[in-house]
Symmetry: D2
Subunit: 428 residues, 4 copies
């Protein structure tokens, strides 16, 4: 657009102090391709952040890009509210064919406002309407967005404080591993559900991420997930899997819960569902729970037709057979090895997460932050996660070529070595 | 995309019952251009809905379209979280130059999740943080979105019920005209604010639409707005103008409040801000109230870069001089005349709204609905508004050529005549 | 008890700063009789406060006193939870015979914890259970107690602030006269109830005091009360009259609403119901709304048997014929004349209240406070009321002999004259 | 009062269905003395319920009774709002001398409305005002009353449901032993407090009963209490011990927490504090937290002067030396032996509670209920406790003579034997 390098003054002068990532990645980006972002000086960065898992298929995938340009060229609908369009039909058909039917999922698709938080708000409403109950169980370190309903389910204290009002109608339960590795938190949860004087009101739903993307990449075990699913059923509560960050292949399969064998009543998807980084969100709901009336939960952008175009193309390209899953599995191994190399440098460090949603808990937010900052200086975009930002988190595009993945990991390992050298030096 | 007509079965089979507009406009749209939408049979419809005011510049404006294609072709960033991009810089510079500076507005821009509701949630948080108060005053018949925080400020009972939990921390006050034309509601509001035992807790903010888009096109008088602004100031409350639907030229000027001369502390924009129907939302906040910390209110899609491209192009094209405002004024007159023709047919009917956000209250939701249905049969997309859907509402693209506007109005007048003929016949 | 004058040091040293009335009436009281309180120096004070209307029959009425002593001497039950006791049976029978049956009231009696606030909490629960709705309409300047549920219905800002949490599930409506004498507030209330997008959720109940004891002795007109009763019925909401302060004869009849002819679904009584100043509270509820299950709303002291003894004796003594009502009517006139004398001294002053629940709004809290302080120096216990404490309020025992009433009024008039003299002096 | 036996028809006809204890103890009581209640047929019952621990010194203690009669005879104040009275001074002085000073407690005394719930409401307000936080930690199976603020802290599902609105601003934590004997619940609580993303907002207070009277007589260990006290301090939260039921000697010392050595910031007392079963409640608060302004938390009956009379007499009679504590210890042993005899009859049964607040968990509410019903037939008033009413609970007056205590225990053991015989018979 602009041919001369943009002056960042405009951001300081006119953008709200709420801006955030630009503070850690202090340059002006102008283009992006695959797993790389390029700034206005022409410097290329390997992207291990991928729009917080919104770019699972990388930047500007050529097939998705072409489909989108074709659509726009042909005066395809850009904004159609929730009217019928051929584009929407094509997306639903493709999603049904490659995602729902093979997994024997009878779920219906509800298009909500195009943010993850909006899908969570809708999911919570559905559960409350189905059950006539107000209380929803959410977990420690969970992150579900920052609009008021979703924020009540979010654990992060900084975001909660931002609401300016008490956040209510949610009961917090300990996630798998929250009270130490050997403490099975389901015993407490079950006691709370069973005891009539526990003080926990009957829940409309249990909402969870199978891997907590913002909360430190805590991965629930398949067994724990099955226990929770059983308890939800017994308690007459719906099970909501918030797959906004962990879905769309991030943990190895399309949905993050597939390995556990559970069958959630409601699933939320956003981030990578458009495949191209375009805003889109949807809720999958079992037909028997599809109770929202026409426009009862509405929103102007619930029909982002550009996103339908790229979403359809992405499903067709990556999910019509199992080759992509195999790629992910292989790359996940490479990531694991790279992170293990870092973990080996730091006493007490441990790997977190699952699939290509991995990280290493280095025990301190300062250390993790310095490693990421150093990595950025060397051409790698990467962020932290966790209550104290103590986890170096890799969310590389799932399509990252193996050699580029290794290059990125090398930068990261190098950064860790450098920072730790400094640390040791400072300690001496 | 698909070359054979889409079967609407897929929607029935797999789309949630929450779908809504597709019920009234029962066809499958495939393309759109300017003020027209075309369905798969090639039928052309004049669009007097315009994505509920999200398409103020029409569908696929050629200049915006070209700018977007160029951006995509060049591998421009699609999704950049809230990093610095040249595209974002260009938008902000353009918005500053053509919108903020000429209006002497020092406001900073906060990019939120790309929905109107999300901008309202952010605005409410800001006000609560600035004041340390939780209560927010909202108005009868106001509509601010359906996520939980915004929904508390929304008046519509159907949407409120959908939340499944009590909606709190908002006090409802009567909008201008709510208790009849001659009842100045500011007297009550002032008494509530002044009396220490009124039972209304000190407000963090007063939030309002100057013209209530969903609530029946009730337009506040400039005098009423000034009274409210003064009361807010005296009460130590921020004034939030939710300009999501009424902004971006809809009422005649860029902001809907310009004629009244008030200076809101916070303004929300979404819908037409991208200019192309792409999801985008932003909050304008006076610098002294820009208190949200980095990512305190965050969201994955707060950097929809495609939307920045078209938003910049739209501002440059339509708002760099005052010709567009003159066009709107002229078209508003045409609309007023058309609606008056309908009002003249119905005893008690009255015109509502302001600028190109106009409608006619025909006294009954059934009648309004039948008129709109008949109009659709004759090639016009148009919707109702109001508590009882009693207002036939015109939200045509502001760019609609005068002759097409007149054609649309003719269809509407014709529909009204037909329906009223039927009505009379039924009554006899 | 203690024979030497008590040192007030003990209060300063060990009683919480939350103590209040003792600050205005700075002496140590040792006994009381009829309409007089006596301090440890033997000074006698005429009591125009009467325990905030808890002592409508005066202090230590000889017949009630004897009944209570007899009960205690005979080892009558003091505390019986909500078991059957002969004492309770006797109270209920008497209350049925002299109060309920003559007024054709089929209401059942629910004994709650012995405070007014507790009766209100119970009433609100009943209404919410009956209707399945959470919202309750309460009025500007209403006072219903300070426990969290009741406090939500209370208008006073100082008390509301004390809760430390937002108070919710109550919508505030303007009381009769709140927006000026000639503004009929029922128009607004009806619009809020009828308009489906007003933003007011369907109410479980409308709760009100017919005369607002703490809020400035605002007396609703009979017509306004009938309108409200009709609107409640139409809206499917229960009508709750909080007669804690205005009941038990204070406004002229046993219940404060009798003159208006309305038939509340629920009535709360406390304060003077025991007749002797002993803690007691009860809720009258129409049989069809008697939905609380056994102990669903419970409380240890819901069977204060001493209070049943005196309550029965009081009903028998004062309400078995209409002589007491005649006394009240006559004394109310004397009070009115006295207050009018004060009103005549102060431009803009006006009389407030009804029956023996009367006051004069002197336009300023400072002035009202000074008048009361001066009166206390001259042997009269009297307090203020209203948002700004601007009303000098008389709540003399209903049994106060006419000459003592006149003596008290003389002191008050004298105080007003003195203070106003000072004021004028200061103004000159 | 009434000399002919009362007909219970009056209760059915006119008392709300909310009545409760009268259903289990289906007779009409007329007098009471010491540890016995007498019905209108002259049948004497040993009272192992003692007004739910409101009659720790038995019914109509002769010294308290005489003091009260003397007070009434002398026209002592009955109701004095919160004015200074010699009676109140005498109570405070006595309470300071025998209770506070010997325990080195600097606490100030706040007189609230005369119910336990009201003391809890006040305590929660104080903590919220002191800290500026809204969240309060309460425990599973806790019981703190049923007014809305207190009810939020109460665990019982039946009572919670009765509120008709979501109960908020309280986080529920597992009490000592809630997740099994060997699960130290403090690990979870600490993790919730320390983790910045746990989702638990910083607490204003931690409120607990050291022995959960209604929740099944769960007794916290001294070590657990000390951990909680330390965590509260570290978290900047006030520690509130709700000693309404467990205080006034019930567990062996005046306060239930004395053995643990903790120093609560706030303590609530009601039930037995008047000594005579008269309504009275107070809050003890450390001077640095005495932040409630004058009447900020008010209530008409916060000065029940009759209760001050008996409360003073009770403190003097029972707490001026340690003889009463020795009596309690001895009687607690007798109770333990009696309950153990019952426990020995039932596989899995176990003793609960501490001091003279003891019970036996018989594993089933039906069984416990039948035992109590049988005991009543044989002249013993006794109740159950626990989520499923599975605990037979003894709350005998602390003054019960040893032989009467043994008689009561014999009736209870006998009842258990009989019922269990029936049970076995039914099972065979």
């Amino acid at each position: 657009m602009s041919t001369t390098p943009a002056n960042t003054d405009i951001f300081t002068r006119r953008e709200s102090d709420a801006r955030s990532y630009c503070r850690g990645f202090d340059t002006v980006f102008t283009s992006a391709n695959g797993s790389e972002m390029i700034d206005q000086d022409g410097t290329r960065y390997i992207d291990f952040l991928a729009g917080c898992s919104s770019l699972n298929y990388g930047h500007n995938d050529p097939d998705l890009k072409q489909a989108l340009i074709d659509h726009i060229q042909a005066d395809g609908i850009a904004h159609g509210l929730d009217m019928h369009t051929d584009t929407k039909a094509a997306f639903i058909e493709t999603f049904e064919k490659h995602i729902l039917t093979p997994r024997k999922m009878a779920h219906k698709i509800m298009f909500t406002g195009p943010t993850g938080a909006n899908t969570v708000e809708a999911a919570m409403k559905i559960a409350r309407k189905v059950t006539g109950r107000s209380n929803i169980i959410a977990f420690t370190n969970g992150f579900h967005g920052v609009t008021q309903g979703a924020l009540a389910a979010t654990g992060n204290g900084y975001h909660r404080e931002g609401s300016g009002v008490p956040l209510n109608n949610v009961t917090r339960m300990p996630f798998d591993g929250f009270v130490g590795e050997h403490n099975d938190t389901t015993a407490f949860i079950e006691a709370m559900l069973v005891d009539q004087s526990s003080g926990m009101d009957a829940p409309a739903a249990i909402i969870l991420e199978t891997v907590q993307g913002e909360g430190g990449l805590n991965a629930a075990s398949a067994e724990w997930l099955r226990s929770i699913a059983q308890m939800a059923k017994k308690a007459g509560a719906l099970l909501i899997v918030d797959d906004v960050q962990a879905g769309c292949g991030r943990t190895g399969r399309f949905f993050s819960f597939e390995e556990s064998g559970i069958s959630p009543d409601i699933i939320t998807l956003a981030k990578s569902i458009s495949g191209f980084g375009l805003p889109m969100g949807l809720v999958l709901v079992k037909p028997e729970h599809d109770v929202m009336g026409p426009a009862e939960h509405n929103g102007t952008f619930r029909g982002n037709t550009h996103a339908f175009v790229t979403a359809r193309a992405a499903i067709e390209k990556f999910w019509s057979d199992n080759r992509f899953e195999q790629d992910i599995a292989r790359r996940a191994k490479l990531i694991e090895q790279g992170l293990q190399a870092i973990a080996d440098m730091i006493p007490g460090a441990r790997l977190k997460g699952r699939g290509m949603m991995r990280g290493v808990d280095v025990g301190s937010g300062d250390l993790a932050g310095e490693i990421c900052a150093r990595a950025f200086q060397n051409g790698l975009i990467i962020e932290t996660s966790g209550s104290e930002d103590e986890v170096v988190k890799i969310l590389a595009p799932l399509t990252t070529p193996d050699d580029m993945l290794l290059s990125g990991l090398d930068i990261l390992i190098d950064a860790a070595q450098n920072v730790l050298g400094t640390y040791k030096y400072a300690a001496e």
